[in-house]
Every structure is written in structure tokens, then in C-alpha cells.
């Protein structure tokens, strides 16, 4: 299961990289996020899985699609033609991967409690949200409000009377 989902995920992202059309790329990402949600579920985090699918794959990507539609991009923009930047990016990316991988090497052994089968459900998350992280929760709602107002004002056409 894990492998299936991970292959889907990685493959979708690769597809996004290689695609020349933004819309295609966005759709690929939707798929990738969905797979990611599944992976969250595998990790025993059902709440995160569902939220991922609803918010990410659902709302955010829909937002992207809307914007693509509004901008009305007819022709796609081909990916970077500059060799140099690609090579450099891939190089450094590989370096970082290696570094992080090295840092995380200790976790590859089969740990006895590697993945908890006992899932932590929404109840428990809700509990925490409204007690320990109440403050952060409220602030986050303020943040969303600010983003909402900001986005509307930014995108408004000026010539409205």
C-alpha cells in the first residue's frame, strides 16, 4: 500500500515538473495531494488525512484552477530552458537530499513501535485544539480572516464605483 501510494505521489510530482501546461500541472498536483492524504492515513493520522484531502486537494487546488481560468492562459509556458539553472538546482537538491538523508539515517531500522496501529482520531485532536492550542487556534482564525480580507482587497477591480 505504501509503495503504491508513494509511487503515485512521486510520479504525479514528476509529471507536474515535466508538463508544459499549467492546468495539467495543477491536476497532477491534485493527484499527488490525494496520494499524500492516503499516506497520512497509513501513518495512523486519519484526521490529518481527511483534512488534507478536503483542504489541500479540495479547496486550495480548486483555488488554483480558478485562477488559471481567470487568467485565461491560452498557451502554456514551457519549463525552464536554461540548462545552467536546472543543473545547479538538481545538483544542490541532491546535496540537500543527501544531507537530510544522512541526518535521518538513524530512523531506518525497524523500530518496535514504528508505526502505531492505534490511530489517533479527530476526537483526540479536537481535545488538544481546544485546550492546549486554543490560543494558536484563535490566532489562526484571525490569520484566515486577514488573508481573506487582504485577498479580496488586492484582487478587487479599481474601477468599481
Amino acid at each position: 500500500m505504501f509503495f503504491v501510494l508513494s509511487i503515485i505521489c512521486v510520479g504525479s510530482v514528476l509529471g507536474m515538473i515535466l508538463s508544459k501546461n499549467q492546468a495539467h500541472g495543477a491536476l497532477c498536483i491534485v493527484l499527488a495531494f490525494a496520494a499524500l492524504g492516503g499516506l497520512f492515513g497509513l501513518l495512523g493520522a486519519p484526521f490529518a488525512a481527511v483534512v488534507q484531502i478536503i483542504i489541500y486537494a479540495g479547496a486550495i487546488m480548486v483555488l488554483f484552477i480558478f485562477v488559471i481560468w481567470m487568467i485565461n492562459l491560452r498557451t502554456g509556458i514551457p519549463p525552464e530552458s536554461q540548462r545552467r539553472t536546472i543543473v545547479l538546482a538538481v545538483l544542490i537538491g541532491a546535496v540537500i537530499l543527501a544531507q537530510l538523508g544522512f541526518a535521518a539515517r538513524g530512523l531506518f531500522g525497524p523500530a518496535p513501535s514504528s508505526v502505531e496501529t492505534a490511530a489517533a482520531g479527530p476526537e483526540a485532536v479536537g481535545q488538544l485544539l481546544f485546550t492546549k492550542y486554543l490560543y494558536a487556534f484563535e490566532i489562526t482564525s484571525l490569520l484566515i480572516l486577514a488573508a481573506l480580507v487582504g485577498a479580496i482587497i488586492l484582487a478587487k477591480r479599481k474601477d468599481r464605483p
Binding site: 487568467i71 525552464e80 490569520l143 479580496i152
Partner: protein, 100 residues
Amino acid sequence: MIPAGWFLSLGLLLFVLGIIAFFVKRDLLTQFLSIEVMLGAGNLAFLALARGPAKVEAQVIVFFVMTVAAAEAAVGMAIILLVHRRRRSIKTEDLRTLKG
């Protein structure tokens, strides 16, 4: 079952792929998408590393990350819209006014 390390390495891979995607693409929109990919990879790493009772907290944190990502996406989209209105294109190379 599946060792956490594998999830983590998947997250790392996705993160680096997101970075590479950022540099490969030339339009603002897809670059933004790649940033979202990176965020998702981060979430994966968070969850992968969580153990036992920490699993709940990890989900809380992931929740907040997603919320912020949503807000950021909203504002980012608005900005992309504005840029498009001004310059008729969202090619990143065209945004050079800070040169110097």
C-alpha cells in the same frame, strides 16, 4: 509495519522534488504549486516522526500548517492576479524591476 524512516525519506524526496520544480518552472503559478508541494512534504515528515501520544499533537500542528498554507495560497493567488493584470504575463523572468 513500515518503518517511519521510509515515510521520512519519501518526505525528503518530495521536498527536494519541490525545490527542483521551483527552479525548473518559469511561471509564478506553478512555482507556487511547488511551494505547496514542499509544505506537504513537511507535513509528511512531521507525522512520520511523531510517536505514541505525540501523534495527536503532530496532527494538530499539521492542521495549523495547512491552515496557514491555505491563507497564503489565497493571498498569493490575489497577487498573481494583480501581476497578471499589470503585465499581462506571469512569467517570472519578466519581474526584474529590482535589478541593480
